[in-house]
Amino acid sequence: MIFNRLDILTPEELERIVDTSCSMLEQAGFRFEWDFALNLMREHGCKVDMDAQMVWIPRRLVMEALEKMHPLAAPQEYPKLFWAPWIGMKFIDHKTQQPRSGTLQDCKNIINVVNHLENVSVSSTGVVPQDVDNRLPDLYMAELLFKYSEKIFTTWTFTVDTCRDIVEMALAVTGGEKELKESAIINYLAEPVSPLKLSRHSLEIIKLYGEMNQAINMGSMVQVGTTGPATLAGSVALQLAEDLASLAYLYCLGSQSPVSLGGPMQVADLKNGNCLYAPPELPLIHLGIVACAHHLGYLSGCTSGLTETNYPDFQNGWDRGMSMILLWAAGSEALGMRGQIGAGQGFSLDELALENEMGGMMMKLSQGISVNDDTLALDIIESVGIGGSYSKLDHTNKHFGEYWKPELFSHEAFEEYWANYKHLALRAHEKVERILESYSLELQIPQDVADEIDRIRDRRIERLKG
């Protein structure tokens, strides 16, 4: 258990940020690139300029939305780690270890490996397959996850049409609209285009998922210095403003979707405009947005534990560790983006296996220290006495059995380690190989449902040909 989480802002500072976010929506406004959305917001009391596609959202509406929307339910055990894989364009080839474009087979392998990594609690395809029609890779991704993932999953939705298809697939899986609305098996990352814009397709997708009460994570991606101010508080305020705009829109739709606030904020390297993956400013802004979300009564998740480096070396471990531990200590409910290596170079199964190991350590940390008569062991201390030994006691053996056991990390002495040398990267690689060789994907849904999913996918392919 964590008591007294790590805090980055005073209550007054939090209020100032929230106030600033509301002011941004009231004074700078927001661009909604869809007439339907503009009209909807106007009906709810917003000032709207249809020609400029601009909305000015009053804080009254924002506060109402915050009060009446449903926060995503808290995990049963705290802090459960929602430990979800990254999704990107590139894959680190498992054999050559070189980055290349992701393929459908990579997606399948990733789902397979995730199914068998005990500390990765959420699945994804890890990569966007590029050996399929690039107008609907999200449909293929959803298809594979519905069919083969043994865990809850997260995925991307790129277009309105594929969104409709994914909803239809979800209806087939759950059995109907009522069941789908009750299950929230899909989650969508509502991502404005910073600063202060929601594209038409995002607005339409939010509406479609919102109508089905699927979980929506308000997750803008403000980048400090480029699409956000070059100050951390300013970017956090902007991020929150964008999340709140999406929330207000969802509220106006009358959706019952459970919602979280947060998102994959970024920091730009102002030397060259590149996106940084592990500067110390990044956990700071994530801590800021997590604090804001909790202050407003919502759960929060951020990307964390990313690295700039291309190899599982010291920097890799530190980059990941610093940001993950800081966010964990602040009580963030979700720690996303697992499996990434090298500033977005690609998704690596070996990295994912290493992060599974890290996840095991974090789960153990999450259990905290158990304090009861057995663990206090006062009788045992007194009976062992001064200068005695605790070896071979039943109490010792029992508690030894509860210790975290590494599978990939080493606990060898220095000489032993180098005498039996096998780099950590190789150990991870071999673990992945073992999983891929030992397990294959199995249908997690009835065959007729799988057939229906295939039919939905094929129908879309046909329509695109037309």
């Binding site: 966007v128 590029q130 690039n134 107008r135 030397k271 405009g273």
Partner: protein, 211 residues
């Protein structure tokens, strides 16, 4: 001449207003616009480019210098047209149809301007036909396209095809970039180059134009 030095310094010092004021004075004094450009504006922006390459300057500083350069250039541009001026290289750049992300594109624009290239921003959500129309009008050496969404990548290929159909492909080099694009994809659509990061742009343009 002292005025050239001052113009050069105004670029290095990122002073847009001063650059404008000094260029106006130079024009009023009858100094040839080519000289104002070469000995003042370009001299300044080249130093900025070198310092940026040497990691002494940050991107916002380059962009501020580029703004100052642009201000001065806009003032002499009508007079340049009367001469036999040809730009270092002309780059047309935009985000493809369906894509409204533009930050990477904007960084590239600044870096190119910061290195003395003439850059035309086509904006976002630019259709293949619009790219062709602008290419016919502006006659760029380079067309740069950016896409952040996998669903919009195909428009890059459509644009390349449209350039071919318009008979322009031979005279325009095509560079593609964006987080969903890769070197393999660039090769697949017969682009001339792929930029992994915005910072690669200047080097690529230099190689493609030999300027």
């Amino acid at each position: 001449m002292e005025l050239f030095e001052k113009i050069k310094d105004s670029i290095i010092e990122m002073d847009e207003d001063k650059a404008g004021e000094l260029v106006r004075k130079a024009l009023a004094d009858g100094i040839p616009p080519m000289d104002i450009l070469g000995k003042g504006l370009v001299a300044g922006i080249e130093i900025v480019g070198e310092r940026f390459k040497a990691d002494e300057l940050f991107l916002p500083e380059v962009m501020a210098s580029a703004k100052a350069f642009k201000k001065g250039f806009e003032l002499i541009s009508p007079r340049l047209k009367e001469t036999n001026y040809t730009p270092r290289a002309r780059v047309l750049i935009g985000s493809v149809e369906g894509d409204i992300h533009d930050i990477g594109k904007n960084i590239v624009i600044s870096l190119l301007q910061g290195n003395g290239y003439e850059v035309y921003d086509a904006g976002v959500d630019v259709s293949p036909s619009k790219f062709v129309e602008l290419a016919q009008q502006l006659k760029p050496n380079i067309l740069g396209m950016s896409a952040l969404l996998t669903t919009t990548m195909a428009k890059m290929q459509d644009t390349v095809k449209s350039l071919e159909e318009a008979g322009l492909r031979g005279s325009i080099k095509v560079i593609v970039g964006g987080s969903c694009v890769s070197a393999e994809f660039a090769a697949q659509i017969s682009a001339d180059a792929y930029g992994e990061n915005a910072g690669d742009a200047v080097g690529i343009v230099k190689n493609l134009t030999s300027i």
